[in-house]
């Protein structure tokens, strides 16, 4: 739910010496992304995607760096980043499992599939396994209703899933 916000007044931001948005990344964004838009702020989503692609999530320090780069405020960036389900403001597992829970998927057994994956990984949706390998999420619809039930694991779509074949797919991941 995008509109639920947390009190951040007393929050401590963890910092590190090396910037998340390093010079190389900045240079790439400056030449390839910024010129696409009439305002720097419009590059927010591409910049956040780039940071997340590199670091797997978006730490607050990275938000501050991105805000400076985009010539906007950190609070504005936090406002944007926290609205979108795909931006991770907390660390996530190496493999993000996004299980589709659309009507089409539920009609074809998504509930049982979810139960079996929860039991297998010993986590609930929204949680990460202790070894940091898997994070489990449920999502609205992945746009693959003809091959329901389906799930995304990182950037790969897996279709026509059963408890057996999905279990095997997860077992096969490093």
């Amino acid at each position: 739910m995008a509109w639920i916000v947390k009190n951040s007044a007393t929050m401590q931001i963890e910092r590190r010496e090396d910037p998340y948005l390093d010079d190389e990344l900045k240079k790439m964004l400056e030449t390839e992304v910024i010129p696409r838009f009439p305002s720097r702020q419009a590059a927010t989503l591409p910049v956040l995607h780039a940071v997340q692609h590199k670091h797997s999530w978006i730490p607050y320090q990275a938000l501050e760096e991105a805000a400076e780069f985009l010539e906007t405020s950190a609070s504005q960036l936090l406002d944007t980043a926290s609205f979108y389900d795909d931006f991770w403001l907390n660390p996530k597992g190496r493999y993000l499992i996004m299980m589709c829970q659309s009507v089409s998927c539920e009609l074809l057994g998504q509930m049982d599939l979810l139960e079996s994956i929860k039991a297998k990984l010993q986590i609930e949706p929204g949680q990460t396994t202790e070894d940091g390998k898997f994070t489990l999420m449920t999502v609205g619809c992945l746009g693959s209703c003809d091959t329901a039930p389906c799930a995304l694991v990182n950037e790969t779509l897996h279709e026509n899933l059963t408890t057996e074949n999905f279990g095997q797919i997860l077992d096969g991941l490093e």
């Binding site: 739910m1 995008a2 985009l70 795909d86 659309s102 539920e106 609205g140 003809d146």
Partner: protein, 458 residues
């Protein structure tokens, strides 16, 4: 009625003309070799305004959900003033049950790019952004590849055959979303494009007047734009030879349902998939001729017509004619995206309603109280009815809450955008058409008696 040759799926093998296993990405050379960019060539020989008039005459209606006539939308643009004007291509496709745009993006991206180029010429738009949902990783890669090819072949870029528009050479960019259904709503999309949260905007002003970055902007769906090239190439009469014309006596200001359409069918059928047919095809035909009939020979019970927002049709509507009038005829919101979800006799409609309410309560952007609170309330009510803990009065309450949200008159104009109308119609049509299922699930007695009893029992 039956389409005699595939149009949008001309290069994408699809039954009954081809085998989906033979599908492959059509690169720009293959696209040129099969008559690609002919429509653009024709358009470039015409004055921009003449192209708008032609699309208007074809009565091409938007394929993204609302069915608004594309040519009319294009003609709402103010006169050029030399400054920037934008095209925002809606490839957000997040409506549950909808997966048709993905087919075009996966296999024939140049069909879309040709439509984009024609639209940029016709409407004098210098920059286009293809807003594609974040979860379409592979499709975004394919699209970027195709856009690159189009730049190399002088469709876009500094050597573009479109020439200067508004004093600039035309550009086309792929822009990835990040997992928010509301960013498919046209003004939510624009906010997101500007780097903000995807809060839908109050209209007017309409985007054609003040859209992206405050400038005139056209927003069209992928399939709508993909249809523009073939219309230019083959003509208005050809396009209007397909679909359902206006009945006699209806004024020409009321748009009809012309042309071919992609239908994405999923659920309890033997061969789910995307099929192309003329608008006006019957649901029963779609299920029996294309989808190999109902799964396990079960009986048809209900179907979501075009994405969950449109609501359901009942068991007696098996022969429903799928065109833009489906809403008025069968008491649902409309054709939507033509993403059909078929449900058989064993389907639990309370569970379907709960699933839908959960989706909307998660995706509500939270600006309007009736939508933010109402969708969540409906989800709670439905969850408790599903668990067998609801009361008879919950059914009327559910109906009332649903009917109190939406931008349309049916939602009392209480919200900014159409997300709430989708929630309203989806839940109301399920409750109305399958009320008996809800009634058998709830406790009959008034709550106060029930609690007295439970005290006595305890």
């Amino acid at each position: 009625m039956a389409l005699d040759h595939p149009v949008l799926t001309k290069r994408i093998p699809t039954p009954p003309w081809g085998d989906p296993r033979d599908r492959k990405l059509i690169d720009i050379d293959m696209y040129f070799d099969t008559g690609g960019y002919e429509g653009l060539k024709k358009a470039m020989g015409m004055k921009p305004n003449a192209v708008v008039e032609l699309v208007k005459e074809a009565e091409l209606r938007g394929r993204g959900g609302a069915g608004f006539p594309a040519g009319m939308k294009w003609s709402f643009l103010p006169p050029v003033d030399g400054d920037r004007r934008y095209l925002a291509v809606n490839a957000d496709e997040s409506e549950p049950g909808t997966f048709k745009d993905r087919l075009l993006l996966d296999y024939d991206p140049h069909l879309l790019l040709e439509g984009i180029a024609i639209c940029m010429h016709a409407c004098q738009l210098d920059t286009s952004y293809i807003y594609i949902r974040g979860e379409y990783h592979q499709q975004a890669k394919t699209l970027k590849y195709a856009v690159n090819e189009a730049y190399e072949n002088k469709i876009f870029g500094n050597e573009s055959l479109l020439g200067q528009i508004n004093g600039r050479m035309p550009q086309c960019y792929v822009h990835r979303g990040a997992g928010a259904y509301i960013c498919g709503e046209e003004t939510g999309l624009l906010e997101s494009l500007e780097g903000k949260r995807g809060w839908a905007r109050i209209k007017p002003p309409f985007p054609a007047v003040a859209g992206a970055f405050g400038r005139p902007t056209i927003i069209n769906n992928v399939e709508t734009l993909a249809m523009v090239g073939p219309i230019l190439e083959l003509g208005v009469n050809w396009f209007k030879s397909m679909g359902v014309p206006r009945p006699d006596g209806i004024p020409s200001t009321v748009p009809a349902s012309y042309g071919p359409k992609l239908f994405g069918v999923s659920g309890h059928i033997n061969r789910p998939g995307i099929y192309e047919e003329e608008l006006g095809i019957k649901m029963s035909h779609l299920i029996e001729e294309f989808c190999g009939g109902m799964r396990d020979g079960a009986k048809f019970k209900s179907a979501i017509v075009g994405g969950i927002s449109t609501g359901v049709i009942g068991p007696d509507d098996y022969d429903a004619q799928l065109d833009f009038d489906v809403g008025a005829k069968y008491n649902c919101l409309g054709l939507g995206t033509a993403g059909v979800i078929v449900m058989d006799e064993h389907t639990d409609m309370v569970a379907v309603a709960r699933n839908i309410a959960q989706f909307f309560s998660h995706e509500s952007c939270g600006q309007c109280t009736p939508c933010r609170e109402g969708t969540h309330w409906m989800y709670q009510l439905l969850s408790r009815i599903e668990r067998g803990q609801g009361y008879a009065k919950d059914i009327d309450l559910l109906h009332e809450v649903a009917g109190s949200m939406g931008a349309l008159p049916s939602g009392q104009g209480s919200t900014i955008c159409g997300l709430a109308d989708g929630a309203n119609w989806a839940i109301r049509t399920i409750v109305d058409k399958f009320r008996n299922e809800f009634e058998t699930r709830v406790k009959k007695k008034p709550q106060i008696l029930q609690s007295v009893e439970s005290v006595n029992d305890g």
